[in-house]
């Protein structure tokens, strides 16, 4: 059996602040109650215990939210988060789907985590996270309330993600005024990261442009037991036993973890070579037992010739992004903001203004190159403060 927990409770208390420990331990405790050995899930108790918040069309901290039904047949809901503008500090109902303003407005389609079984778009933890994303990335965030396992197995979550993508892509009010296109990014944590990948793959096949994937501790796996799984099993809130349970609950019955949904670069995966897969930012927590699979995912993308950046947070545990009381949170949030700012907003806009639209493809590449430089600079360290200072000083950025 995995290393006993007694010793490790002290260890994991030392790497996260106490309130984070309490929060994640509470989830662990609740989740243990919900998973039944026979593979069923205590959904009623899960919904009872989950702390939820309603949408709020009144801006709080400059962000307001509202829920929409994207697909009636599956009751697919999404919660939309938008920044309140200076002109319309108090949107009324007709303003909810008012066209976005600003040259380019990124739209982040966000898939919440929960190992395919837990949480919802209106879970407090994810509502909070999405609100932060709006502010940091100056984006509209669409949080998808996808169908969950074990009641709805593969491919329901992916189908819902795809439906949401199509919906977002077809909203005229989400088109960036600059080019009348919806600038779509896919993001997600844990199972949400996994969904983002698969929805992106489907987007490529269908010709919908996804500009970037942001995967936070994405949930991947495989039949093999990797070194990190064995080493970290049970040590930082997560066990192999529970990981296995969730895959059994999500994957089609009888399938093992080398199913491509779980292991996209495994024996049954489809090659991504030669296709225009979105650039990916993958965040891996150093204390997450499935990191070997996440790192293999990054390698898989690289081998397929795809753009990918790994952000490895050595001392981070799962869920570090839920509370803003640790350095990993800030690093990732800054990353996200800088990545988006640079690739989306400032550089292409400025360079295009200078060099004309013929160079738009070139700008893209240049932007990404600059982003890479930023990213190298943006390791946790004093440099980051410089970045922040430079961030709002375009002349300095140009000097790069």
């Amino acid at each position: 059996m995995a290393g006993s927990n007694e010793v490790n409770l002290n260890e994991c208390k030392m790497v996260v602040p106490l309130n984070t420990w309490v929060l994640i331990s509470n989830f662990k405790l609740a989740y243990n109650l919900l998973r039944r050995p026979d593979g069923t899930f205590n959904r009623h108790l899960a919904e009872f215990l989950d702390r939820k918040v309603p949408a709020n069309a009144n801006p709080v901290d400059g962000v307001f939210s509202f829920d929409v039904i994207i697909d009636r047949s599956t009751s697919l809901l999404s919660r939309i988060y938008r920044p309140a503008t200076a002109e319309e500090p108090q949107p009324n109902i007709v303003d909810l789907e008012k066209p976005v303003t600003g040259d380019i407005v990124p739209v982040i389609i966000f898939f919440h985590g929960g190992s395919f079984a837990h949480s919802s778009a209106n879970s407090a933890i994810y509502d909070t996270l999405c609100r932060r994303l709006v502010g940091l990335c100056k984006a509209v965030v669409v949080s998808v309330n996808y169908r969950r396992a074990p009641e709805n197995r593969y491919p329901c979550a992916y189908d819902d993600g795809w439906t949401a993508l199509k919906w977002v892509n077809s909203r005229s009010w989400l088109q960036s005024p600059k080019d009348s296109k919806v600038h779509i990014y896919l993001a997600g944590d844990s199972s949400g990261g996994n969904i983002a990948h698969h929805v992106a793959a489907r987007a490529v096949e269908s010709g919908i442009d996804v500009l970037g994937n942001i995967l936070l501790n994405p949930m991947f796996g495989g039949q093999e037991r990797t070194e990190s799984e064995k080493r970290l099993d049970g040590k930082y809130f997560v066990t192999l036993v529970d990981r296995d349970w969730y895959w059994r609950a999500f994957l089609p019955e009888g399938e093992d973890r080398d199913h491509p949904a779980c292991n996209p670069f495994g024996p049954n995966g489809k090659s991504l070579e030669g296709i225009k897969f979105p650039k990916s930012l993958v965040v891996v927590a150093g204390l997450d037992l499935i990191q070997d699979w996440q790192l293999a995912y990054v390698e898989g993308l690289k081998k397929a010739g795809q753009e990918v950046k790994l952000l490895y947070m050595e001392q981070a545990t799962i869920g570090f992004y839920l509370l803003p009381n640790n350095n990993h949170f800030h690093t990732v949030m800054v990353y996200d903001s800088v990545v988006l700012l640079l690739t989306v907003l400032l550089i292409p806009a400025l360079l295009q203004a200078l060099l004309g639209s013929a160079f738009s493809r070139f700008i893209d590449y240049r932007a990404w190159y600059l982003v890479k430089k930023w990213i190298e600079l943006l390791k946790p360290g004093a440099r980051a403060e410089q970045i922040l200072q430079k961030n709002h000083n375009p002349e300095v950025m140009f000097a790069l």
Partner: protein, 508 residues
Amino acid sequence: MKRDHQEICGATSYGSGSGSKSESSTISIPNKGKLWEEEQDAGGMDELLAVLGYKVRASDMADVAQKLEQLEMVMGTAQEDGISHLSCDTIHYNPSDLSGWVQSMLSELNNPATENLDPVLANSDSNSSILSQETGVRLVHTLMACAEAVQQENLKLADALVKHIGLLAASQAGAMRKVATYFAEALARRIYRIYPQDSLDPSYTDMLQMHFYETCPYLKFAHFTANQAILEAFATANRVHVIDFGLKQGMQWPALMQALALRPGGPPAFRLTGIGPPQPDNTDALQQVGWKLAQLAETIGVEFEFRGFVANSLADLEPEMLEIRPPEVEAVAVNSVFELHRLLARTGGIEKVLSSIKAMKPKILTVVEQEANHNGPVFVDRFTEALHYYSSLFDSLEGTGVAPPSQDLVMSELYLGRQICNVVACEGMDRVERHETLTQWRTRMEASGFSPVHLGSNAYKQASMLLALFAGGDGYRVEENNGCLMLGWHTRPLIATSAWQLATTESG
């Protein structure tokens, strides 16, 4: 929460993250608002958790963490039937009040409202063995965790765990259930300081040992192998004197006497000195045993002499009291079955006794002891050793489970249960079940001036045949170990017989 998001990139002030020990820098989002600087509002609630829907006072955070730990220990991570009632039957209230919610689950586990402890097991036979196995593993881990807690003097946690052991044990069957129950009881005694009194009527403990003797081959093996060594040592003697350090009901001696009676050339004169504890009702239990053996001796034609000695401890004995005759007149054998380890409870005890034995100039000293180290200085180590040892022992008693448990079996279990209680709950002079391994005894004996007398293949073969007669020999194994014989259950040796002589003695 009054921050305006537009200020995030424009501001130039920097706060530092709270509490993180990461080696990374103190990079942080500018700290205009109250959110990151102060994590409490006027009510003392942790504001970060409040945003996520949980009301926990900052001052209660450590306490909630501790309760979560407790609950974690008790519940563990395995999918187990023991806690399924928490999810099925328990009514949960107000999950936002984390402290209250966790506390209510702790209370629920300690005082379960429902009697159906394992609804899943009850409903699903096919899952039962898997669940039972997982619960079994869980049980062992909980026992260990409880011992750890006791060692760390975290008695609150230990108390919670010991109650949970009871729950888990109830869902087990057979040996595991019994062992866990005895260990749980012993732990509880230790936690609540209700130490078992050793001043029980010795005739009661003798009776328990009788049942143990009947139920399983361990004592029979002990007597048999010791007798073999004594017989061989007495081969040429005309007068023999056996000093039995723990006479009890004298069950070892009829077989020896019969073997002596059948010796070619006729039996030697047989003297037996039996040592025993004082009886509370002042009856002379030793004399009664002596009398019975005298009657046997008469029927088989062996000249017999008996002396009984009452002593609280073997260390109280002086060799002069025993009226030892010179070796050329009478060959002496000293026999100790499960007695020597008790002397380790007081300083100087074993040394005194070993030197007394040497003064008796015995031809042979036979020692039978439990093959385990239950005398280590660290409580948790002792506990773990004992858990494994007695699990094997109880397992061997379990049998096929076809026949209903006999009274013998129940008494045997009680007999062992008392040992468990002593190993786990007692300390100091009260802890007398200080078993040590053969290796440890060897070191001690050799250091005290004894050299080994090897038990040979004939003894080995006969012991094996003896085993085959009892309990069909299934699972029991005789092992030879550097001249000593061990009896074990499957791969686990449980008792060891060794024989010794004075180091300066030459053979013949």
